[in-house]
Amino acid sequence: MKNSKATIYKSGQDALEARIAYRIAARLNERAETVDTDISERLRFAREKALEKAQAARNAEAAHVISGGNVAAALLGGGNGWWVKLGSALPLVALAAGLMVIQHLHTQAQISVAAEIDAELLADDLPPAAYSDEGFVEFLKTPRD
């Protein structure tokens, strides 16, 4: 019983304090609105400067994101439009074509060397020992196209 009375008294006291406090705060608000023009102007200048800084911070953030995006696009071979994409794909195409040409030339060289050896063998006089070679006999038996 005693406790509940104390609680009621305390909450009543708190409410009373809050009412007075808010009234005083309202008077402070009124007073704050009457600051000198000079101070108002300096506060306005400070606010505008802060807004400029905020804008600069946003721009810096945006630039960071864009540059990050460009690096990613370059790494992935992307770009702005089909021509840029084609341009970035051109070296790859040239490399593939070059490799194919080299492979072809290499094969041709091997064939011509083998043909020369065959031609020399066929044009040369056949040694008698060749007829005793099983492999050569087999070669002769193989039908020609």
């Binding site: 006291q13 009373l16 304090e17 809050a18 009412r19 007075i20 406090a21 808010y22 009234r23 005083i24 705060a25 008077r27 402070l28 608000n29 009124e30 007073r31 704050a32 609105e33 009457t34 600051v35 101070i39 108002s40 300096r42 506060l43 200048f45 400070a46 606010r47 400067k49 802060a50 807004l51 800084k53 905020a54 804008q55 911070a57 946003r58 953030e61």
Partner: protein, 188 residues
């Protein structure tokens, strides 16, 4: 993320109170303006990506820290130790009854005469003067809690103390103000 307009509106709504609060503490208008400007810029640079709802608490924290930094620099410069917690007033309310202040306050509501209106500016000046004369921690708790309308937990967060301390500081501040204003025959 707060837009330019939201940030601008917020700063506009809070700048005068912020200036006054700091001016009560540092008692130097130029220094108060510098502190408010630094706080605004710090908020804009570091916390521009935060939602608008978070700005009031962030700004009050930045402002309080900037004010404390100013005092630290002053202390170093002057080699003069000033302990803000020593501002606590004695709690000798005697037989002062806070209810009398509210009764006076209620009886004056809606009965303001022309003469009262004329002297209103002077009354506001006296109230402001009494608030500025409060001990530092009491004034900070009072202005954050009732002027900036932060709740007890937010006030404690800004002040870096417990919620219980905030309630105690606020209660003492209100009693001190009510008593001082009653002594001067002013109902807030």
């Amino acid at each position: 993320m707060a837009s330019d307009k939201e940030l601008s509106d917020f700063l506009k709504s809070v700048e005068k109170r912020a200036f006054k609060r700091v001016a009560y503490a540092v008692r130097d208008d130029d220094a108060a303006l510098d502190i408010v400007q630094d706080s605004m810029i710090r908020l804009a640079e570091k916390y521009v990506d935060r939602p608008p709802a978070e700005l009031p608490l962030l700004f009050q924290r930045i402002l309080s820290n900037a004010t404390m930094d100013w005092f630290r620099r002053l202390k170093v410069r002057n080699a003069h130790v000033r302990n803000f917690s020593d501002f606590e007033s004695s709690d000798e309310d005697g037989d002062f009854n806070i209810l009398e202040t509210l009764e006076a306050l209620d009886s004056s509501a809606g009965t303001e005469s022309a003469a009262d209106s004329v002297s209103r500016a002077q009354i506001l000046l006296v109230i402001e003067s009494e608030v500025s004369q409060l001990p530092g921690r009491q004034r900070e708790a009072f202005t954050l809690r009732y002027w900036e309308e932060l709740d007890v937990a937010e006030t404690a967060q800004v002040m870096g103390c417990s919620e219980g301390s905030v309630k105690t500081h606020c209660s003492r501040a209100v009693h001190a103000l009510a008593k001082a204003l009653k002594a001067k025959g002013i109902a807030p």
